[in-house]
């Protein structure tokens, strides 16, 4: 019984991280109809930057902020320079561009920081809570992870629902040509969408880094899981991304606990295939073909 509880709690924690990555993918998909396959590599870079700042200044929180800021800049630059030229063309082209970016960033990460994995500090204790006589697999750091991802999700929800710029972003995402006629600077909205998505991704990176040794290829499974979570919840649905992340986190936690961690990537693949075959638009989709 405690095993089940442990797996559930740790599933919630990793699920929160998947939710953040899924949110990043969903934001970009909604805005520009592109799946950002480079998201994992982008958050790898921002996490390395965070580590560099932490090592230079000795402060975790400065590194944390550095990750988010570098994510903001990286996302904006990538959209403006690489994605803008291929938006609206054949859908295969942005797929190839993001895969190329993934390859390039992994290589650059290896060039700058080397391929040997490094450890990343956690801001809060990694010792499980003591309940009664037992120690849970859930730590104060996990509480931080869950709370901050919730804050991110709520912040984005408020931004989109209650602010003028969020309204413009939604209009630009749903009907870009009409939005232009309403005075919305659609290009800037796309750039902003990518920047915010990259911040979400950067957040996921620093949150998961303490448990995954930091290396150029170590974030591949995170991207896959984030993608599966996003598809599970519906690529068009931010709340779906959060729920999808939690559900996937739980599912993979149980698989890892009861079947062993080597099966986790295959389990993620199996879940992806099942969702795509049975309900391709995801659990929360209200999607229609996007019109211009």
């Amino acid at each position: 019984m405690t095993r089940f509880l442990d797996l559930t709690l740790s599933g919630i924690s990793t699920g929160a991280v998947y939710a953040a990555v899924a949110l990043a993918l969903v934001l970009i998909w909604r805005a520009t109809r592109v799946v950002n396959f480079a998201q994992g590599a982008m958050l790898m870079i921002t996490t390395f930057i965070a580590l560099a700042v932490i090592n230079a200044t000795g402060s975790y929180w400065l590194g944390f902020v550095a990750a988010l800021l570098s994510g903001l800049v990286l996302g904006a630059v990538v959209e403006r320079v690489l994605i803008r030229p291929v938006e609206g063309g054949p859908p295969l082209n942005p797929v190839i561009v993001t895969l190329g970016l993934y390859t390039l960033l992994v290589a650059v990460g290896g060039m700058i920081w080397g391929n040997t994995p490094r450890s990343f500090p956690a801001p809060f204790s990694l010792r499980g809570y003591r309940v009664g006589g037992t120690t849970l697999l859930f730590t104060p750091n996990d509480t931080f992870i869950v709370l901050i991802v919730l804050a991110l999700a709520l912040g984005l929800a408020v931004l989109f629902r209650a602010t003028p710029i969020g309204l413009q972003m939604r209009a630009a995402a749903f009907r870009p040509e009409v939005a232009r006629l309403l005075g919305v600077r659609v290009g800037r909205m796309f750039t902003l969408g990518w920047a915010l998505a990259a911040v979400a991704g950067a957040l996921a990176g620093v949150l998961i880094a303490p448990s995954v040794f930091l290396g150029p290829n170590n974030f591949d499974p995170i991207l896959i899981s984030g993608f599966v979570a996003a598809v599970l919840g519906g690529l068009d649905s931010p709340p779906g991304a959060v729920i999808g992340g939690l559900v996937l986190g739980l599912a993979l936690s149980y698989v890892s606990g009861y079947e062993g961690s080597t099966l986790v990537p295959l389990a993620a693949l199996a879940i992806l295939v099942i969702v795509l075959m049975v309900r391709p638009t995801g659990l929360f989709a209200a999607t229609r073909e996007r019109r211009v």
Binding site: W29, V34, V35, F37, L82, P85, V86, G89, P90, P91, L92, N93, V95, I96, V97, L99, G100, L101, Y102, T103, L104, L105, V106, A107, V108, G110, M111, I112, W113, G114, N115, P216, D220, P221, I224, F227, V228, V231, T262, L263, V264, P265, L266, A268, L269, L272, V273, L276, M277, P280
Partner: protein
């Protein structure tokens, strides 16, 4: 009124040669046979004159071509993207490894690799036919990342981290006692590549190829016109998988081993880069792509050494270059090298026609 421009006048052919040319031109099968024979003879001569190291590179190029040709057909003619072709090569590679270790001879084990990957490719293709663009890319990406895990899960069967090693295929005695192993392997590899060339050339120029292109361009219209969209896409996927499987089988023979480390996600990305730079849907482009994959690692190592770059940089340089290639080609030259060649030849013929019109206007 016929033009007097010599560039435009039809050359007056001998009657026999024109009849032959007409027959070959109209019949795809005949054309592909001629192509295969010509290329085959050229490769044979090439393998004889070059060093054994180059023969080895020829083998590499050949097995890359198998996978690249299949992938370029899938992406270009059928309009489906796959990031899992590295994993499909692994299927072919391990099939040959297992069979070779139980004593199967050369041709049957390669045929088995083709058959096994074809069979694996059918359900994959059926699933893929229901997925579009990024979903398909994501699913095949998950496959590429997840499939190597199988080797870890069943280490005894798959040989675990170190994989399976096999004995090389020795050249038959009729070729002489000193016949180099590398040249023999190059012959095997090139034979495989020629088979793939023959099969795909016929496929892409046939009615089936036309139907696939129709589906690629407008699925709904094609379905309304009576084409069995799902079936066609599944077939395309399965065939391209079989090509990758053949390439993987040849890989095992050349490297004399099949290990998970050779078939990671990176391989699938290299294959994608190869078809993108060559031009999607172009068999000649697959040749360019194979050349890229064979020569780039060496060139980048030389480059790194000449600039005395650190090991971190030189180790990651090929990967960085592939990434830049993928991005740059998409941004600047979306139809790849072969598309660029085609565009050049089109503008050249336009210029010739323009010159013809000008000179005829003068007369």
């Amino acid at each position: 009124m016929t033009s007097t421009d010599p560039a435009l006048r039809e050359p007056a052919p001998g009657r026999a040669t024109s009849a032959v040319r007409r027959a070959v031109g109209e019949n795809t099968l005949l054309r592909s046979l001629v192509l295969v024979i010509v290329v085959g003879v050229a490769l044979l001569l090439l393998s004889d004159v070059v060093t054994t190291y180059r023969d080895l590179q020829l083998s590499y190029g050949a097995y890359y071509f198998c996978a690249l040709a299949g992938l370029t057909m899938l992406a270009g003619t059928s309009g489906q993207i796959s990031l899992g072709h590295g994993a499909l090569m692994a299927v072919g590679a391990y099939t040959v490894a297992k069979l070779r270790n139980t004593g199967w001879p050369l041709v049957p084990e390669l045929a088995a690799a083709v058959v096994v990957t074809l069979i694996v490719g059918i359900p994959m293709g059926a699933a893929a036919s229901r997925l579009r663009g990024p979903y398909l890319a994501g699913a095949t990406l998950a496959l590429a990342v997840g499939l190597p895990a199988l080797a870890d899960k069943f280490p005894s069967f798959f040989g675990g981290e170190n994989g399976l090693s096999v004995n090389p295929s020795t050249p038959p005695a009729s070729l002489g006692a000193n016949f180099p192993l590398e040249r023999w392997e190059a012959w095997i590899a090139c034979a495989g590549a020629l088979i793939v060339l023959f099969a795909l050339y016929n496929l892409m120029h046939s009615g089936l190829g036309r139907s696939m292109r129709a589906v690629r361009d407008d699925e709904i219209a094609a379905g309304l016109a009576g084409l069995r969209v799902g079936r066609m896409q599944t077939l395309a996927f399965a065939i391209s998988a079989a090509c990758a499987g053949l390439g993987g089988g040849v890989f095992t023979l050349v490297y004399q081993s099949a290990a998970p480390g050779s078939f990671q996600l990176q391989l699938s990305l290299y294959l994608l880069a190869g078809v993108v730079i060559g031009g999607l849907g172009s068999l000649v482009g697959a040749v360019w792509g194979a050349a890229l994959l064979v020569f780039l690692p060496n060139w980048s190592t030389d480059l790194a050494n000449s600039f005395s770059l650190s090991t971190n940089v030189s180790h990651n340089l090929p990967l960085a270059i592939y990434g830049v290639v993928l991005i740059a080609v998409m941004l600047v030259w979306p139809s790849g090298i072969q598309g660029g060649v085609r565009a050049l030849s089109r503008s050249r013929s336009r210029r010739l026609r323009g010159a013809g019109a000008r000179s005829s206007a003068q007369t």
